[in-house]
Amino acid sequence: MLNRYPLWKNLLIVLVLVIAAIYAAPNLYPEDYAVQISGSRAVHQVDDRIIAQAVNVLEQEGISFKSAELENEAGMIRFDSGDAQLRARAALTRGLGENFVVAMNLAPTTPDWLTAIGARPMTLGLDLRGGVHFLMEVDTVQAVTQRLEVYASDIRTTLREQRIRYRSVELEDDGRLVARFADAEARDEAQSRLRRDFQEFAFETAQQDEAWFLYVTLNEQTVRDIEDYAIQQNLTTLRNRVNELGVAEPLVQRQGRNRIVVQLPGIQDAAAAKRVIGQTANLEFRLEALSDASRAATEVFEFRNDPDRRATLERDIIITGSSVANANATFDENGMPQVSITLDARGGQMMSRVTRNALQRRMAVVFVEHKTRNVMERVDGEMVERRIPYTEKRLISLATIQSVLGNQFRITGLDSPRESSELALLLRAGALAAPIYFVEERTIGPSLGEANIKMGVTSVQIGFALVMVFMALFYRVFGLLANVALTLNLVMIIAVMSMLGATLTLPGIAGIVLTVGMAVDANVLIFERIKEELRSGAPVQSAINSGFGRAFSTILDANVTTLIAAVILFAMGTGPVKGFAVTLSVGIVTSMFAALVITRALVNATYGGRKLQKLWL
């Protein structure tokens, strides 16, 4: 018999390898040092004018750059050295003003035709790039309590409207709402009414002395929804903040039930990042000052979108953003954009009390932000970057009060749906739904990142070389064939990782090294099996065939079990463990393909077509 693969099978293998090579290719192109310019708000779009301005700034400072262009609505300026990048960032931050965020970045130099088919290099994890990793916990208990207070007020309103007499509705420490009634009828009526109005409530009743109680608890689903909402809101807030920091490719992601991960590659000043992220921006609702108001009781503010426009407001604040329970961008009857705002109980009360006496006057929404400004100063003849914290208060809207406002009202008079959604977002972002605190923090300096890459690559190279030499010596021609398969295996691992958009971490590199060591196992199994067949006197070609055939089930069982372990690692692990699990899983799959299909094809091509008396194995 002869061992030959049909043409289609060989072509298929070639096709797979070509695709793998193409998708692995972007990793070969070195990254450029770059700065990325983006608008700090939607109104500030980066366009060719801004790029020209940036180029101008750089030319004035005498900083040479490779290219400056618009990429994905952001300006990308590339440099030859990290030093030029650093100087450019400082110059551009000063030159372009606060409306634009200048972030340091490493820009891939992947050729356009590769980018066009979706090929891109692997992302490097923080341990390889340097940067900051924060894990924050959202105090969801607080969020639920806040909402319960709103419910308490809703219940009171409902009872009042239905003319059901009650003594009190209070929030207890154990998270239950308790309503007190003077008699059983009132309580039962209240219960049936509330049951109709609020599907999310669960009820319990009690009686003590001359008081009848109705205990109200939220069902599990509602509590979860409130928590989810709080976390979503905090995610929005944090994303905004992170954008303000000027980080390229930040990651802000929910983790588990009440945690948020923030990863900022390239940031070295963790303390500064923390201040900004932990900070609470806020909103203020104020009335416009009457024309006869005294100077001492008023304050002048600029509009956020139009610094030339100003308005004089009362110093008294009606409520702040922390009273905003929710805000959504919607449209009014005429299809004009507006923002619907829901206030919490106390906010609603304050709002209605103030607006009752201020009909037809105008109310302003002021955006208050605690920011830091970076200033370059000359200290002892050296340029030092210094941060100055400051508070920025700007108007986002000024509108006439048409009727008494309760805990729900709308802000109209907005220019575009984009403005309304941005405002809604800011309103939500302004009101941190629940306090957050840091539970984990990891800062990796850039020097360590670089060292880690270098060590990782060295290990892969040396380990790879050793295994290749060993295989060649031990299995001769077959060893060489296995080495070819092993090399292609490495290409495939990198290609799949790149395609998945997986992040390469240090444990990930360790996973690749381990895979290289273990990948030969399948080949070893096959070759040993062929040897055995030969020893037992089988003809060469059938020995090859049954060697591959018999090793198959062993290889399958062995790899599937390892894969089970890897998948569990991925499912249960976090951070570094996940990175390792991904490379291990990918490696197991590709090395099976390499050993069973590629090696087979190579062996077939080398030996399969002719009659052999002896195999040099």
Partner: protein
């Protein structure tokens, strides 16, 4: 080259192997009970700061600086080279600590001090990671056991899992005895050990299963011995290549990967041993016979077993 012609009587040494394994396990459990594991920051919570001085620095000097600032309980050690210093602090400290420490050292040092790494893990997070890790190990073991019971036979799955538990306990014991830091990457390594050791055991079991069916001998010990000898050169070659890359990792991979490489190295060595001596031994203890592996006569309403 290595050419194994001689037939080894592995199962002849099974009593000695059993005693050896039991002693290792007892020592491991004892050490785990007495010394415990030296959990790293990932699992205990706390702060860790790694800094580089531009010139070699005496540990005592750094300790002195920290003591002067009121951090007498800080653990200070070198990390890789004399310029690299690793400082650990207990969980009672606040998240801002890393920054503070860096500032203290920068003030006190003669040359420049740069931050390489600053980590803070809340104690609650650490505890969760520890629980998750333990749970992960257990789930992995159970899933593997189910898969093997399905693919082989119940006795084999018990044997494989016991061999695995044997490996995991001994590697843990090794970490406990040596007081090497046990962090997240080591946990990853431990799970990789499960994968590797299984791989090894299954290759052997696969051959045992085949030989029970093919060889016309009823003596289980003989079948096991033949199987082990047939797979021996593969066992050695694969262990060697894997150990080669692990040694490379341990030497060139840097301090952060060192624990990982050592854990896997220990795991590979013990896993190779266990797949030869322990996995087979347990099969004998469970009294495995040919009958266990001969497919039951197919009934009409049952599908035949697929043999690839």
């Amino acid at each position: 080259m290595i050419n194994i012609k001689k037939e080894f009587n592995f199962m002849g040494a099974r009593r000695i192997a059993a005693i050896f394994s039991i002693v290792l396990i007892l020592v491991s459990i004892g050490s785990l009970a007495i010394n415990g594991l030296k959990f790293g920051l990932d699992f205990t919570g706390g702060s860790l700061v790694e800094v580089t001085y531009d010139q070699p620095v005496e540990l005592e000097v750094v300790r002195g600086h920290l003591r002067g600032a009121g951090y007498g309980d800080a653990v200070v050690q070198t990390f890789g080279s004399a310029n690299d210093i690793l400082i650990r602090l207990g969980e009672a400290h606040d998240p801002q600590l890393g920054q503070t420490i860096l500032e203290i050292l920068q003030q006190e040092a003669d040359g420049s001090v740069t931050l390489r790494r600053n980590e803070f893990v809340g104690s609650q997070v650490g505890e969760e990671l520890r629980e998750q890790g333990g749970l992960g190990l257990l789930v992995a073991l159970i899933m593997v056991m189910i898969y093997l019971a399905f693919r082989f036979q119940f006795k084999f799955s018990v044997g494989a899992v016991l061999a695995l538990a044997h490996d995991v306990i001994i590697v843990l014991g090794f970490f406990s005895l040596m007081q090497i830091d046990f962090d997240l990457t080591v946990l990853a390594a431990l799970l990789a050990v499960i994968g590797y050791s299984l791989n090894d055991t299954i290759v052997v079991y696969d051959r045992i299963r085949e030989n029970f069916r093919v060889l016309r001998v009823s003596d289980s010990i003989e079948v096991l011995n033949t199987s082990l000898n047939q797979t021996l050169s593969r066992t050695i070659v694969t262990s060697l290549t894997t150990m080669m890359v692990l040694v490379v990792l341990a030497i060139f991979g840097g301090e952060m990967i060192y624990g990982f490489a050592i854990a896997l190295l220990a795991g590979v060595i013990i896993g190779t041993y266990s797949s030869v001596y322990v996995a087979g031994n347990i099969l004998l203890l469970l009294n495995v016979t040919r009958e266990d592996l001969i497919p039951p006569p197919p009934k009409e309403d049952e599908e035949e077993e697929l043999v690839p």
